[in-house]
Structures are given as structure tokens and as C-alpha cells.
Symmetry: C2
């Protein structure tokens, strides 16, 4: 009797993409996704199905500065290095998608389930800017920055974010541990940064829409509290456009990386 | 006998554009230019030919962060304000073109001839970046940053830049007073900044190509000196792509602005 020896190696792959041309990360019928493009490129070069799995969904038009996925292959780290996989991948995927690095991980490391926290940014463009087309939400109406900052800081006090989740989502609970949430101004760009252990579907865009309602004085800080506590999506503001949203990256424990 | 009273006002208009879709600023047959788009928009709103004149040419694909042009109209500053001209212009020109402000100037102020100095930047992208497609020159080969800085600093010592000018250009001389020229690194972007009283056609792109030859160790700093002194375009390096070039703006004496 021979014991089957697994010759599979698992790797994390870090990439960035301009999401304008994609229907998000996730493979889906009749639409181009980042996962599909990258999985096909990996299969072309490694000549096997790698089971490419991402750290999470992204919506249509959403961008990523440091997105992580994992894949399996029979090729060893030395073989990947000899074939210059990162270089070759970057030459066969389109301009709007770039691979930064590939690192070997322990066999049960998982791009989604091993992630300890995730970060997003949302950019509001306060005046017409030719260089931010499809890369920010153009919103020129008067906004009270301090009011937006005030309600954003409240997010760290709450645990249940059902008010900001898509209703048809398949989750057991709506609990998120938001560890930071704040705004900064860079010229005419207003940038919202948020970090949490997890995010519900559509959560950042619904949050920014509701925070913007506070900036427009359509709701008061107290009403913002009421919206969160109501656990009812229909009380929150509208979901701002995906083009302003950037997935900044997920964090993993160093112990999952080999070497 | 009545003395004809000029009812014409002259204005400076400041704009920015992503040059990707344009064949530069200058109107030309069978190609879309920024000047054409903006002149048509002004005529649509002001119902007269405004004689829109730019501060200088830009090549196909070149970008501008603060480009200045002048135009004439019978409309007074109050009338422009009442019709909200900046707002309306921004709504009828495409997304890749934005108007920042319109300021009244003295009648003989000229966007080109009144400019005292002009600034450009050129961006080299050192690794594939989805967000810099058409906005930088992707150049991943090893480059010696210090060598590029060293030869760039020499530019302030020279006056005649014939080696970096297009041969079929209509100028009386090739004298430029370069007041600053240096490189900086912002992450994987290497950015060249240059300021001069004037620029010859194609000059920045030919300069960056030749400086890059120094970075590639294809030429030594002494050979760089020889190239400048030769006053022969064929000795200089190749003209780097227009997509990496940004016109930053022209400077004018405050005295030409009214109010």
C-alpha cells in the first residue's frame, strides 16, 4: 500500500486592478471578472486548474490596490522562480491588472478565511477632475466635513451593521468589528478609510451614502445612530457608486507564509 | 462723429485635461483637439467666435494639470458670473476636460506671449500599475537614479537646446533659460520636473529619452555634455512617449489680471 503524497503547493498571489472594465472579482456567467482573467492566465502558464480563490467579492467597477488570492499548483517555488511566473503573468493579463508578488503559504492558508482584517477607501471628488473619471464619485454639492467625520467615528462603537447590508445576502449574522473609520482631505479629494475584520456585501457604499446624508444635513448625528440601531437597510442612505471604492488589502498572520 | 467703443473683454481660462483622447491642444484637420472642443463650447454658450488662444502646443496624448488660454467676448465679468459660465462649460465638455476658473485680464494680455515661465513633469512608471495606464511611461529596466539626477542638474548650465528640438520647427533660436530640472521618487514612480522660460517642440520628451540613456549607462555624463554641445538632434536619445508628459502650468505677472 502506498500513501499518496501531495505534490501540491499553495501560494498567495497579490495583485492590483482598475475595476472599470470588470464585473468585480467573482467569476460569473456572461460577464468579465478579474478572477476569470487571472485563473485563465495561471492555467495557460501552469497547464493545470489552480482553483484560484479570492479574499472576497468586489462589486462592478470597484478597484483594488492590494488584492490577495490563493491557488494550488504542482510547481515548486523554485520552478515558479525559474519560469519567472510573476513577469509572465503580467505580460499576458491586460494593462488594468497587475501582479505584485507570489508567496508560498502553508497548505491550509486561505485567502478569505485566514484574513484577519480588511481595509477599504472611498474617494469623493469635490470638483470635476479629468484624472479621476471612473476613479471617484463626483459630488460637488456642499458637504459638512466635520459632520461626516463625527458620524464616521461612531462606527467603532457599533457591532451590528445589518442596516448597511444587502438584504439577500447569505450570512449568519451582521456583526463586524470596525477598528478604524475616518475621513481626510487631499486637495479636492475627500477620502474615507475603514478597517474591519469583515465587511458585509455593499456595506462600505451604503455607509458612505448614509455618512454623506449627514454631510448634506439631511440627517443629524442622532438620526445616524437611529439608522444603525434600526437594523433595517431601508432606513440607511443610498449606495454610492462603485467607481469610488478601493479595496486596500487584507492582513494575514505572518505564520502562514513559508520562508 | 462717434468714437467706436470696444465692448470686448479678454479673459484667461484655466483648465486641465487627460490628453489620452486628444491630438494635443492645437486645432488641426481630421483630429480631435482640446482647443476645438473648448472653442466650440464657448461659442455655444457665448454665441460668438471667441478667438480662443492657448499658451502653447501640446503633443498627442500629453496631459495638462493647469493649462491657460485666453479668449475675447462681449460679455462682461458680471454677465459671465450670472450665466455661471465655468459651471455650464464643465457640463458640456467631456469628462476628460475640466475648467477651473476664468479671470478677466488686460486687453493685451496673451496666454502665450505673456507667459514668463512654464513647467512640465514627466512620469516614468517602474512597474506595471493598472492606475497609470496612458498616464506614465512603463519602463522596468534597471536605471541608475543618481546618474539621471546628475545629468539633469547640468541642464541649468546650458542655454542652447537645439539637440533636443524637432528639426522642422519654426523658431529663430534654440535658447532656453532652464531654471530647475530634477528627479524625485514617489514609490514606483520616477518624476522629472523641469521649469524654463520656454520649451522647444518635443524638448522635454527628447531630454527625458537622453537622460534615460544616462540611467541605462548607454551614455556617460561627459557624453551627455557632448550631446548638448553638438546642437544636433540625431545625437540625442529617442523621444519618450507622450502619455508620461504633464504640462503643469505657465506663470504670468499678477499685473495682467484685473481686480
Amino acid at each position: 500500500m502506498t500513501i499518496p503524497v501531495s505534490t501540491n503547493y499553495r501560494y498567495f498571489i497579490d495583485l492590483s486592478f482598475d475595476g472599470t472594465a470588470y464585473h468585480g472579482w467573482q467569476v460569473q456567467p456572461n460577464a468579465i471578472s478579474v478572477q476569470q482573467i487571472l485563473a485563465e492566465a495561471l492555467t495557460t502558464l501552469l497547464r493545470e486548474d489552480t482553483g484560484l480563490t479570492g479574499s472576497g467579492r468586489t462589486d462592478t467597477g470597484v478597484h483594488a490596490l492590494n488584492y490577495t488570492a490563493h491557488f494550488n499548483t504542482h510547481a515548486s517555488p523554485l520552478q515558479l522562480q525559474e519560469m519567472d511566473l510573476v513577469y509572465k503573468l503580467n505580460r499576458i493579463v491586460p494593462h488594468d491588472l497587475a501582479i505584485q508578488q507570489i508567496r508560498q503559504v502553508i497548505p491550509d492558508a486561505h485567502a478569505r478565511f485566514s484574513a484577519q482584517c480588511r481595509s477599504y477607501e472611498y474617494i469623493i471628488c469635490r470638483r470635476k477632475d479629468p484624472f479621476m473619471v471612473n476613479r471617484a464619485w463626483l459630488m460637488e454639492r456642499p458637504l459638512d466635513f466635520d459632520a461626516m467625520q463625527e458620524v464616521s467615528r461612531k462606527l467603532m462603537q457599533y457591532k451590528d451593521f445589518e442596516s448597511f447590508s444587502r438584504s439577500n445576502t447569505q450570512v449568519n449574522n451582521y456583526l463586524c468589528n470596525v477598528t478604524s473609520a475616518s475621513w481626510r482631505q487631499e486637495g479636492h479629494l475627500w477620502i474615507f478609510s475603514i478597517q474591519s475584520n469583515r465587511f458585509l456585501r455593499n456595506m462600505v457604499r451604503a455607509l458612505v451614502g448614509t455618512i454623506t446624508d449627514a454631510g448634506l444635513k439631511k440627517i443629524s448625528p442622532c438620526q445616524f445612530d437611529d439608522i444603525v440601531k434600526s437594523k433595517n437597510r431601508s432606513n440607511a442612505g443610498y449606495s454610492v457608486p462603485g467607481c469610488g471604492l478601493y479595496f486596500l488589502g487584507a492582513e494575514y498572520d505572518d505564520s502562514i507564509f513559508l520562508k
